[in-house]
Amino acid sequence: MLRLDCLRAVYSDMGNCLVVTIMGATAAELHSLGHRPNFFYLQHAMGLASSTGLGLALCLSDQQIIVFDGDGSLLMNLGSLSTMARYRPGNLVHIVFDNESLLSVGGFPTATNTGTDLEGIARAAGIPTVLTVRTVEDFSSAVKNALDRKQLTTIVAKVEPTGPAGYVTDLSLVENRFQFRRYIQSLKR
């Protein structure tokens, strides 16, 4: 399963969601499908995409938040699973693209390549709904179900360790950040 195909499969479902992605291939691939002002790409600070999603979810209970995390990023901030589980906002869907690799720095295997089970960790942390998917069809239905169910969900999507040739886009980091905040503020008017 390719991450790009997963993103393409749910792209049309995210029109009204606030989307936070991690750095590297995930950000570049979502951007390549067509940037929207409701997408924020956290191009550094590995591990904090899920925390950012949690902050958004707790402050904007009537908005649906989607976080695209990765195995390398989540492994840097496993405590975030316990914090998300503690507050379990029903408007947060946490998707982990697990390619078992630190792809953007040369493809070194992460601990999920040697047996660490992120689904098991998320479940044991107390995330109410956790599942692993391995096909685009299952991914798409898991995301749609999570959006409908209104319960904090972690979806571990096992994907190939491949990505685009480069990661830099024409969207500057601060431009993205101001655009994203302005988009959210416009929803309140």
């Binding site: 600070a45 950012t52 999603g53 902050g55 958004l56 707790l58 402050c59 405590g79 503690r86 950040r177």
Partner: protein
């Protein structure tokens, strides 16, 4: 426990007057009253963290949402947050109001706090983070809104160091 209730109340009231609606916190002795006040206040969203760096992401999310926030942590929690501060708050121009208990400074009895105390101010300076030392209750009412205002206008992290003189009643 001789943590100053009066100072804790003054800090909490000042944060409320600044319209701070979300507090992230990791328990630390000097902050117990503050955390309890946040927990008891139905208007305040208290986020109890596993590690302080999470608070940078949570405050960024709150900022995007248009909600003012503050981080309550010990100076060792500031040390644990440095990558998040640099590669999120600085990189993306995110305002952070950081209330940091200044452990390991003059009067510290716990040996394990002393190394962090040595380097706290030097790190804030080298990171270019504006900071002020809060050591009397008289300064709390004014300095907290000043710090919050600077964080919002400059879109960057600003720190207040809460000292032993402020937080601890011998």
């Amino acid at each position: 426990m001789p943590v100053s209730l009066a100072s804790s109340k003054a800090i909490f009231d000042a944060l409320k007057r600044c319209d701070v609606r979300l507090l992230s916190a990791l328990p630390e002795t000097w902050l117990v009253h503050l955390i309890r006040m946040a927990d008891d206040d139905p208007e305040t969203i208290l986020v109890r963290l596993a590690k302080e760096e999470e608070g940078v992401g949570i405050s960024a999310g709150a900022h995007f949402a248009g909600v003012k926030s503050a981080m309550l942590m010990q100076n060792h929690g500031f040390l644990a947050s440095i990558n998040g501060i640099v590669s999120f708050a600085h990189l993306y121009k995110i305002p952070l109001l950081m209330l940091i208990s200044y452990r390991g400074s003059f009067g510290e009895r716990d040996p394990w706090q002393t190394q962090g105390g040595n380097i706290t101010e030097a790190l804030l300076r080298v990171m270019g983070i504006p900071y002020s030392i809060l050591d009397t209750i008289e300064n709390v009412e004014k300095r907290i809104p000043q710090a919050q205002t600077l964080a919002e206008s400059s879109l960057q992290p600003v720190a207040l160091l809460l000292t032993r003189d402020l937080m601890w009643e011998e």
